[in-house]
């Protein structure tokens, strides 16, 4: 008996360690890929190049960032871009429902609507640079239709540049929403919609009261993903279409971070900005999780 106990002890110890050993490679990878860069960015955000070398200056970089009017302008531009999210969500929903109802050629339309999403952003950006110039195709069409008074320098005007970029982002990102919503619609039980129709619900009522509640989860997911996109994934649009101009009219947070990191030789400021952006994005993710939990609780 004592001999048996002596034999099982190492085995028990091994079985306790074993799961951790299996987890170790993935854990190390996650730490290296995700945690280390975040820690490093936090650390760099506390450093500043001074005349006497690199010094840790606490929160000085954060203070300098918040004092910089360009930061607020960039943040404001990101904020304006957030308004694209409800617009693209409504459009994507509407198109997805139309396609779901199998309008003639819906498979072709689905492909066409999704196509911009698989195009590289610089390709989309450069195309729209040519489309939206003062003498670009869009204005030429407007003039041809006798609507020349509407023609604008869409990307060269401080007033119109953010709405114009929003349109391009909606054009590209909407395809993702359509495919996402359509996939969920395809999995709905048709009997419920048929029952609603038998009960006398018209097209509008059927979709507002029956379809949409069932799509709420996927809509929520899409909205949060797009909100994060508007905060931290619009660099390529801005870089290729406007370079942040005219003036700072289309400068967004990412573009501002890039300038400080690579053009202005101020990694401390860039890191502080990155931390601010990370916190804003994290806030959105937490908000989404809370909303989700609440909707589950309400459903229960």
């Amino acid at each position: 008996m004592p001999q048996k106990a002596a034999k099982t002890k190492p085995l028990a110890r091994r079985s306790k360690i074993e799961p951790y050993l299996y987890l170790a490679p993935a854990t190390i990878l996650v730490l290296l890929v995700f945690v280390y860069p975040i820690v490093e960015i936090f650390h760099t955000s506390l450093l500043q190049n001074t005349a006497s070398g690199i010094k840790t200056l606490g929160l000085t970089n954060y203070r300098l960032v918040f004092q910089d009017p360009v930061f607020w302008e960039a943040l404001g531009n990101n904020g304006k871009l957030l308004f694209s999210v409800p617009i693209m969500t409504v459009f994507a929903l509407f198109i997805a429902i139309l396609l779901f109802e199998h309008v003639r050629g819906w498979l072709v339309y689905r492909g066409i609507i999704f196509m911009p999403y698989i195009l590289a952003i610089p390709v989309v950006g450069m195309t729209f640079v040519y489309l939206l110039g003062l003498n670009g195709i869009f204005n030429t069409l407007l003039r041809g239709a006798g609507l020349g008074f509407i023609a604008q320098d869409w990307l060269g005007s401080a007033r119109w540049v953010i709405p114009s970029i929003s349109v391009v982002i909606i054009y590209r990102e909407m395809g993702f929403g359509v495919v996402l919503f359509l996939a969920r619609l395809m999995s709905l039980e048709k009997e419920i919609l048929e029952a609603a129709a038998i009960d006398g619900a018209n097209w509008w009522q059927k979709h507002v009261y029956v379809t949409l509640p069932q799509l709420s989860g996927v809509i929520e997911f899409f909205v949060v993903v797009e909100l994060i996109t508007m905060l931290s994934w619009v660099f390529a649009y801005v870089f290729t279409m406007t370079g942040g101009g005219p003036g700072f009219a289309s400068t967004v947070m990412e573009f501002y971070i890039w300038k400080h990191a690579f053009a202005f030789r101020s990694p401390g400021i860039a890191s502080a900005l990155a931390v601010v952006l990370l916190l804003a994005t994290t806030f959105l993710i937490i908000l989404q999780l809370r909303l989700r939990r609440r909707s589950f609780e309400e459903a229960a």
Partner: protein, 440 residues
């Protein structure tokens, strides 16, 4: 005895081999590999092909030296080298735009002064070395000169009854009167593109400079001893604003970038435009050699720099501090300035070389000869080079866009300069110290 002799023979052979190897590694014929992060093609198309040819030619002169050319992209020219500086490892020779960018790296102790390795005699032939002179040393080698002046369409001038200045330069009033006539004749007086902000920066370097007495005058505002809102520095934005409001520019100025603006001139879409030697050469080809003339920027300011030229070496080649072969690197840079290579440079690129030994007879077009004359006579300052990068980007380029797009007034543009300078001073105490100590 036989075995002992064999051992001695082997030892002698071994020691002789070692001695031979030692000589090969330390003598003047030692094998040397140099890496050159090279940029010039964007300024001077044909520059890459010329460099390939030059490296091959140098191999014949110095068989032991191998030059590895790594072409650099415009967008990452500064950031890539900054990464090398952080790692204290990278090329033996690098390229950066003159003055501000070069000195920025000098101050980070990443550059070896070329004047320590090249004779004063040789360097006395190089032009515009003042652009990279700091603390009594020259920090990099120029290769070519780029000047920017106004090119004009002779037919359009004739059509509008405008006579080009006989002295090569108008007063500002004469310039405005000509713009007025051209506009009345239905011709766009000045075509430009400022989507990328550089056209505004060119107005700063041409017109903004005319109010200043020296580059140090500008430095005083940069370091905070003077205020950028003083009309002395930014009052000229009113003149630019006035031109925009009067419709002297093409309406799509904010839809075009700098080079597209010049192309619009070559396509006959306007009577005047800024042009580098390359742009002017292109216009001469597109519009016809007898259709294009050049003139200097009209006189606007009354500062001591009002008459200064604006030719710049644009890019500078320099030796890195960590290079193990600074002398060999300097020898190669000096080789680029041999008469044969200078002539080959012009034949390949059409851009004049920054060297007194450059054979001027190669430039045969009278318009380009005139440009060369202006570029190599008198004081030459490209004012944009004397700005910290952040101020150039966040004030110079941006304020111009503000005026061209009419999203801000000249007063807003001036306030932006002041604000951007304050932000830069707060965010870069290290750079500020260097700028304060820089005796220009």
């Amino acid at each position: 005895m036989k075995a002992g002799l064999r051992v001695i023979t082997i030892l002698v052979i071994l020691s002789m081999t070692l001695v031979a190897c030692g000589t090969a590694n330390t003598g003047s014929n030692a094998k040397v590999d140099l890496t050159f992060w090279y940029w010039a093609e964007s300024d001077a198309p044909g520059a890459d092909a010329w460099m390939t040819e030059t490296v091959a030619a140098y191999k014949a002169v110095k068989p032991n030296v191998t030059i590895n050319i790594v072409p650099q992209s415009t967008d990452t020219l500064i950031s890539a080298f900054q990464s090398a500086v952080t790692a204290k490892s990278g090329p033996d020779i690098a390229s950066q735009w003159a003055t501000g960018p070069v000195l920025g790296f000098v101050w980070q102790d990443a550059v070896a002064p070329i004047s320590d390795y090249v004779s004063t005699d040789e360097m006395s032939n190089w032009l515009n070395t003042n652009e990279n002179t700091y603390n009594g040393k020259v920090w990099g080698a120029p290769m070519y000169l780029i000047g920017i002046e106004i090119m004009y369409n002779k037919d359009m001038f004739a059509q509008a009854g405008v006579t080009a200045p006989t002295s090569g330069r108008w007063t500002w009033d004469e310039f405005l009167a000509a713009c007025d006539k051209l506009k009345a004749a239905g011709i766009t007086p000045f075509v430009a593109g400022d989507k990328d902000g550089y056209n505004g920066a060119w107005w700063f370097s041409h017109v903004g400079m005319q109010g200043l007495d020296s580059t140090d005058d500008l430095r005083q505002a940069i370091v905070g001893n003077k205020d950028f809102t003083d009309p002395h520095y930014t009052g000229w934005y009113s003149a630019l604003d006035d031109m925009v409001k009067k419709g002297y520019f093409n309406q799509d100025v904010m839809s075009l970038d700098l080079s597209q603006g010049a192309q619009a001139f070559s396509q006959g879409k306007g009577a005047m435009s800024w042009g580098t030697d390359g742009m002017i050469k292109q216009a001469l080809t597109d519009l016809g050699a007898d259709k294009v003339g050049v003139m200097r920027t009209p006189t606007y300011g009354t500062g001591k720099l009002a008459d200064a030229g604006n030719a710049t070496q644009s890019i500078t080649f320099f030796i890195t501090k960590w290079s193990k072969h600074p002398q060999e690197a300097a020898d190669f840079l000096a080789y680029l300035h041999t008469a044969e290579r200078l002539s080959a440079w012009y034949k390949a690129t059409g851009v004049i070389a920054a060297d007194k030994r450059f054979d001027r007879t190669l430039v045969t077009d009278p318009v380009l000869q005139q440009m060369m004359q202006w570029e190599t006579t008198g004081t030459q300052i490209w004012l944009e080079n004397f700005l910290p990068g952040q101020l150039d980007s966040d004030a110079d380029l941006t304020a111009g866009q503000m005026v061209f797009s009419q999203s801000g007034s000249p007063a807003d543009a001036a306030a932006l300069w002041q604000r951007a300078a304050e932000t830069w001073r707060n965010q870069h105490p290290d750079e500020l110290t260097n700028w304060k100590n820089w005796q220009q």
